[in-house]
Symmetry: C2
Subunit: 233 residues, 2 copies
Amino acid sequence: MSACPPRTWQSVRDEVLARIHRREWAPGALIPGEAALAREFGCARATVNRALQALAESGLLERRRRAGTRVTALPVRRATLEIPVIRREIEATGARYSLRLLENTSALAPTALREQLGLPAGTKMQHLRTLHLADGCPHVYEDRWLNPERLPALTEVDLRQLSINEWLVENVPFTRGDFSFAACSASADVAALLDCAPATALLLVQRSTWQHDAVITAVQLYYRPGYCIRTQL
Amino acid sequence: MSACPPRTWQSVRDEVLARIHRREWAPGALIPGEAALAREFGCARATVNRALQALAESGLLERRRRAGTRVTALPVRRATLEIPVIRREIEATGARYSLRLLENTSALAPTALREQLGLPAGTKMQHLRTLHLADGCPHVYEDRWLNPERLPALTEVDLRQLSINEWLVENVPFTRGDFSFAACSASADVAALLDCAPATALLLVQRSTWQHDAVITAVQLYYRPGYCIRTQL
DNA sequence: TAGTGGTCTAGACCACTAT
DNA sequence: TAGTGGTCTAGACCACTAA
């Protein structure tokens, strides 16, 4: 079927994938064991294992000890979103990046945020608001709260030069993060910043990042009207 | 440092991850080679390789032959979205799933869609509009176009019972898919279906799936107001 | 050209679980 | 209990690329 280039694990993966697409192995069906496939392909079992493991990771196969390997009947498709640093994302489109630091103050965190992050009442946090621009046009408005206890070196940074976004990525490792994607209606403030009509529908990304059980930062990103996140598979 | 449980590749991965978080190995820095780590951990090089490969896949390490392995300086975070069948997604919340088939006709594809998919003018496609409900409340409105040449068995299915969404997943394998996430303003029609005010901000997911170079289907999903997609990392 | 990661092999043992 | 996948090992060769 496939030619006879060196039996790499990728070629085994591709052959298995092709058989699934051809419905030679139908959804829900049990496929031959690793040992049998290794014999058929003329390679070691470890090579077959690597190939099947890759397919299982992408959700196309379900593997269980003793029970064998099945083609997933109702596969949960997994799409991988790449979330770059904002400056990079803008520069990748060929545009010039700039930013406007709108606020950098210490303030009481809003109740909703405190509850979401499990912080006690009266907690003071650093509040940073930044507008990121592409060729001078608003691209995304960033409304961020930071836990100052976790970020001692922050005061020494000139955030009008280097965006907080980028500084965090380079300087503050995190162990865990939550994302959410939603649509929201532009408030008057946000509309003015993004140079659009109030109540325009905007893509809103919320993110919070943690070091173990301590929150580092929570951010809301309001993207310019019409912005869309793309991905494959 | 870490205890001495069997040196599995996962434990090697976790130890490396911990050193990155502790900044023992700083962003951009070169880490020891596989052979050195294998010696240090007292395991085979293949085990270290598996661990480092997993970290490279999640974007935390950059590996190049001869150049060695570095901690990524500006890591592109990868978030994995799980995209389940709509019925499953609704049932997972504990709600009862139902659907309303609104339209199932053969029609000329709109120009914008034709251009996006690279189809010739005058192409007829199957047009399916479905409303998915959770406990009787509108959850998502699905506006889908199908390539009938690729779906001969479709006519035999009762789409009032089994959603097209689910039928496709079970019966039509695809080799490639595009996703995009955006915000849109509810038109009068969509607002009526989703039982919300016109111009409400809605999360809109667009998807097209392909068999090699032939399009199978293109779909727009308008989610109920307030819906949000969550993920980790 | 030398040193690094990428991969394959053959064999082994273990963990899980259907029977 | 037996059969499957999960993993580790020791050794080997190759591909790439910085020096």
